[in-house]
Symmetry: C2
Subunit: 169 residues, 2 copies
């Protein structure tokens, strides 16, 4: 075999290693490690809430996080979120439970969607109130690999539509 | 120059074309065409709402879309969304306005976040009611390049915290 006949082979081998360069692979969806990290983030979120730890809760948001809880003002940035939660935890104890229904990551973004139950008890005394609702949380994987909450919103589910009234006599 | 001295050059050229193969480029963020398509989707959404066109509205969602409007049941799938909107449009006329505050696309996913104002007028007569709130919409770019709503949620903003009461005498 002459050197001349090797050239096409070497070029083919060199190019063969980068066949995906022209069509970059889409980011990985629901990578096991990412979903595990999001599950751990959700658990840490619940734990921080139930411990009344505003600082720990704030650190689970991106620095530019935006929190938009139902019937609450929009909180923009981690500092605003911490200040608001701190003020709340001075007034009440909270027992939060999150029931995820859907978790999806794609590359360095994702979301978590589900139901929540929260029991709020005033610290000055008085009876607890329990609220159930739905949440939608946007997630970002930061440069150091940590998943954080970047945006969140929640609301209350309405009852399913009533069955049509019978028209039978 | 001999053929032998050309070989390294050719190999370098061949490999140089795929330097990004080992570290795939992250998906493009806020590509001009994607943001324009999302803006057009938002406009089409408002137009379908204001025309009372449940079918047109449903077609702006992914087939597996999930809509979770405040105080409404969770609607899962385009068909459920269309049926619910059709029932609503038989009862009321709607005048919707969306004021986006943040639009972000990254590859084939994204979100749109902002405020809404909606005026609802009963078709049987009666006065209109106007509601203002916030929305968070998840977006997906489908295989044919069309952007669709995959998940949505809205709620009502609370007033900012009141200034502390003055303790001056």
């Amino acid at each position: 075999m002459t050197r001349g006949s090797l050239l096409p082979v070497l070029l083919a081998l060199a190019l063969g290693g980068c066949t995906s360069a022209n069509a970059p692979a889409p980011p990985e969806t629901n990578a096991t490690a990412d979903v595990a990290a999001v599950n751990a983030l959700r658990e840490a979120f619940v734990n921080a809430y139930n411990a009344g730890d505003a600082g720990a809760l704030g650190n689970l948001y991106t620095a530019d996080g935006v929190s938009q809880s139902n019937n609450q003002p929009t909180l923009t940035g981690r500092d605003a979120i911490i200040a608001s939660q701190k003020a709340m935890f001075e007034q009440v104890s909270v027992k939060l439970d999150l029931q995820p229904e859907e978790t999806r990551t794609e590359g360095t973004t994702g979301y978590d969607r589900g139901h929540y139950t929260v029991e709020v008890t005033p610290k000055v005394g008085g009876s607890a109130t329990t609220t159930e609702g739905r949440y939608l949380v946007l997630l970002v994987k930061e440069a150091d690999g940590a998943w954080k909450v970047s945006r969140d919103m929640d609301n209350i589910a309405g009852a399913p539509p009533a069955a049509p009234a019978s028209t039978a006599p």
